[in-house]
Amino acid sequence: MIVGIDLGTTHSLIGYHGPDGPVLIPNALGELLTPSVISVDADDTLIVGRPAVDRLITHPERSVASFKRWMGTNRVTRLGKHALRPEELSALVLRALVADAESHFGASVTEAVISVPAYFGDAQRKATRIAGELAGIKVERLINEPTAAAMAYGLQQRDGGGRFLVFDLGGGTFDVSILEMFDGVMEVHASAGDNFLGGEDFLSALRDACLRELEVEAKKLTASEDAMLRRRLESAKRELSNTSGGPVDVEILLGGESRRWQIDEAGFSRLCEPLVQRMRAPLERAMRDARLAPGQLDDIVLVGGASRMPLTARLVSRMFGRLPLRHINPDEAIALGAAVAAGMKARDESLEEIILTDVCPHSLGVDTAQDDGHGQVTTGLFSPIIHRNATVPVSRVERYQPMRDQQTQVEFNIYQGESPRVENNVKLGTISVKVPARAAHENPVDIRFTYDVNGLLQVEATIVATGQTHEVVLQQNPGVLTQDEIRQRLAALSELKVHPRDQQENLLVIARAERLYEELLWARRDLQDALVRFRTVLDGQDPLQIREHRADFARMLESIEAQG
């Protein structure tokens, strides 16, 4: 069975392609969205998902969220006695999702299609594949998130076609893709985006403004006060998206003191103006690279949870002179599409065959130097070989010549990026080739870049004079694990104790009670007593009794939270 997975910054989902179309699988709590949050309890056992969210407040130093943003880096997170890389944290989320799917099917799951932001670069894609490997599944394909959303959307009109723009604002990333459907082909014309722009940044803008206006220094907040503030502001942000612009009240406990803050939609929009501005350039670039005018788009589709904010629809309307569509539940669209892609990978017969062609979102090239003919040499110029938004797979060659006569060695650095100067781009590796000593203009070197459907880059240098070819293996990117390291990490990960999925409901009531204990001074005694009672029942290990007691406990928490 191949599953489709949306591994998101704030939430992750898993689904498959059933006889009646894509289906999402609920987790042990009966929810489709599993928060991408990890926590570790007192005896170093790991907690994944919703219960870990409450623990961001009660045990901030033992919990972590938003780690998708660190994919492709070496950043290590300490959780209790564990030190985990972003791939490993992601692997823990993937494992939890796979366990949910396995319990749903009653069979093991070994293969998956995982969605990634279209604008993810080389290191981030590799890290995502490794996360899958560490979770014990074979990653059959990485699919770009906007493309996945389009699949969920496109398949609704079976014999439809047309051009559309997918505007995908998730928790941590922003993607724009322009696609066209015709005759069983889904063609991506262009993708652009920003890997560090998402709902989390809008939340941070809200938090900064709140602290500024209440004259509280961010540094003076304890980690759990900060987590609590973020939680309150997150629900205020949701409320602002739903209400008709009226003010929303936020009440928070800061430094043991209850404070009140108010914000309306207009104020929120003003705060977020710099973030909104950052969305303009990717939209412009995608349209320009696709060589389309706004009038040539059949639809503009908003997906990703953060696209619920009215300011996104306003921006799109202003730029395109038309109103966008909000289709399927924006939180679920990508996962549904990944499930469709999984079904196609399995060559599911109920699926009409669709061929997907995608693009390479970044320009790839080498550094060069140029002589202006007056003896002035400019170095560090970026010479793209594969231009951004070229349809993949693609193979391109460019010819270069040494700077000096009789030069015997030529070195090229390989870069990914859009700046005309390499220092602003991302370095992927270095290649160095020996050339015969002769006049520079008679000594060219051909550099061939080949980029495959999985986003892997191969570089080949040919010395034209001798016909000698050097296949170049890119030096290991510092943010990517080697095969040996993966094996070690895999062994280490299998040693980790993780709470089994049938414990999720118990973990959740405990985590929630602990959070309320932290937030509500007046209810502390009752909560303390109830927690002790529940722990005693758990020790009794009688499933029936645990279930009954848990239901009572949950009702009690419900009513305490309502009195808040």
């Binding site: 706004p294 059949d298 100067r421 602003n424």
Partner: protein, 226 residues
């Protein structure tokens, strides 16, 4: 152009967009990108060339295939069309602001400018703006960097390539008034995560005047071009 793309797709040279796409889709099923990368690349190239030829013929804008969807439109007020753009007024206001503002202020002002909101507006006016700036009193390098960043001319790509000589002339022009070469080399950074930047030893001398003169004549040559 040779006719191999049409032969490969097995279509007539006067085929319309619909026919080109149908032929491409048929061949794709036999040469899937994941199964036959080389075959796919050849077919895709032929397809792109045929479409390009169609565009160059100026026969027709590509037609979308309309379809009805059960979706709801997001309820928002109807979009506003930007006011007409006058380059003279724009440059005057920019120079005025430049007297007192920082690069960041300039960028904010440009971002809020209603004339540039609709898709493609920046690209449409970029040439005109840079041309006018080359004839106006010089802006400081930091302000030029902000303008170039806003116009999307600080990234590699077709827009930058088309205006390369104008952009570098404008950069040099800015440096004649201020020695701070560093300022313009730095990318305009908005995100705190972007990295910058190297040392650069650039010397500017009389050659710049010559280069500028060269650009002026280039301006004339390409005046009637595409």
């Amino acid at each position: 152009m040779s006719d191999w793309p049409y032969a490969l797709l097995d279509i007539d040279e006067d085929s319309d967009e619909r026919t080109i796409k149908r032929a491409y889709a048929r061949l794709l099923k036999l040469h899937r990108p994941e199964d036959d990368p080389e075959g796919f690349q050849l077919i895709n190239e032929a397809y792109q060339l045929c479409l390009h030829q169609l565009d160059a013929g100026g026969s027709n804008a590509p037609q979308g295939i309309g379809f009805d969807t059960p979706a709801t439109h997001v309820s928002e007020p109807a979009p506003v069309v930007g006011p007409a753009f006058n380059v003279g007024t724009f440059i005057a206001a920019l120079l005025d602001l430049s007297q007192t503002a920082s690069g960041r202020d300039i960028l904010r002002w440009l971002q809020a400018h209603p004339a540039f909101y609709s898709i493609g507006a920046r690209e449409t006016f970029a040439h005109e703006i840079i041309n006018a700036l080359l004839r106006a009193p010089a802006l400081p390098p930091r302000h030029v960097a902000a303008v170039l960043h806003f116009l999307g001319l600080d990234t590699a790509g077709p827009a930058r390539a088309r205006l390369e000589s104008y952009v570098s002339a404008l950069e040099r022009y800015a440096h004649m008034t201020l020695e701070d070469a560093e300022a313009i080399r730095k990318p305009y950074v908005e995100s705190p995560l972007s990295s910058s930047s190297g040392r650069l030893g650039w010397s500017f001398g009389a050659a710049i005047w010559m280069a500028l003169l060269g650009v002026v004549s280039l301006t004339r040559c390409s005046g009637g071009g595409p």
